[in-house]
Symmetry: C2
Subunit: 187 residues, 2 copies
DNA sequence: TACAAATCGTGACAAATGTCACAGGACATT
DNA sequence: AATGTCCTGTGACATTTGTCACGATTTGTA
């Protein structure tokens, strides 16, 4: 577990043993079962999560109680309701396990403590954040420029494992189409 | 000009005069006329831009030569093709002035030099990047959950000035609908 | 095993959106 | 003033997508 987090960080920057021990002390390791909820819309969001293993969905529920999957959070990813986490407001989304999942949690206080005490980690987080922004913009582009079928094919090419672990209904919700439309893509 | 950049940064962190002088030395001030192009798809992206005044569009052109506006870049914003800028690859988008525009440019080398030499600026950039990600995710949510009419109303409420300076055709391109559909919204 | 819930495909129809064509008006240039 | 370009609205029609309903299958669980 620890070595996985360390390897993840060291893909971007390098750390001494002492530095990593300190980093680790600011995180808490937690385990959740499938269908467990890490936070729900309306609650305070106490943590940002690094996913050691498992799979989660970040979901926004609209006024008609339709679920929209903003993101599938996979191994080696970071996830939270970042708006609520950073701005210390109530969550507008919920985060739920689709599989048994292990995560390293960090509080906002510890997030900034981490930046203050290990400047290299701040560099790491900056690069992660930049990449996160780029990924989100790619998703915007995909929604602007392609139809449901092309988006489905993009998603499955990039994350074939989702076919095993996520229902078609939920894939449709991520792609922004109804489950019926997704079903009719296979012709 | 300088005081505007300084005020922008000092909304998030505070700087001494010496620190700001150093920061400023890593930027270059440039002016562009309406319709001028800062970079085009296929080119190397030399800079990230802080917009002092003016308005630009970040555009992706698909295989059928349709323009998709990824972002309107406004005063007090940062803009670039961040994927190409950070990964030093060819641009997939172009950045074009919709009005006469003044920007502070920074190269990638100077971006990291800035982080190295003024840690507070790295904190600033991290917070900016986090906010950029949050904004992009909001846009994804808007595309997933609302129809063209609602997206139009959201956009105009948040940026009423766009109505003055941007054609309906370009608003449609940002919203992800045809200009005809946008035209028929006003009934 | 047996029951309940979730999942999936599909038909029928409605609603939203795209595409094409045309015309008038605003605006800049010559 | 004449010209061309861009922008805008609109009608007609095609395509895509959503919604509702139904039944079959799979899955989870008592």
């Amino acid at each position: 577990m620890e070595s996985q987090l360390r390897a993840h960080i060291e893909k971007t920057i390098s750390l001494t043993d002492q530095e990593f021990d300190h980093v680790l002390s600011l995180f808490e390791l937690n385990h959740f079962k499938k269908k467990e909820v890490l936070f729900e819309a309306g609650q305070k969001v106490e943590h940002s999560y690094y996913i050691v293993s498992g799979l989660l969905k970040l979901v926004f529920t609209d006024k008609d109680v339709n679920e929209h999957i903003v993101s599938f959070a996979m191994e080696d990813w970071w996830e939270s309701d970042f708006q609520a986490f950073f701005m210390e407001t109530k969550a507008s989304m919920s985060l739920t396990c689709l599989e048994d999942t292990s995560v390293y949690c960090i509080t906002l206080d510890n997030y900034w403590k981490l930046c203050d005490s290990v400047p290299k980690l701040e560099r790491f987080l900056l690069k992660k954040s930049n990449m996160g922004f780029i990924g989100a913009q790619q998703r915007i582009l995909s929604l602007l420029t392609t139809n449901a079928k092309e988006r489905y094919e993009q998603l499955i090419n990039q994350n074939p494992e989702l076919l095993q672990s996520v229902s078609k209904t939920q894939l449709a919700s991520y792609l922004g189409v109804s489950r019926e439309t997704l079903s009719r893509i296979f012709d």
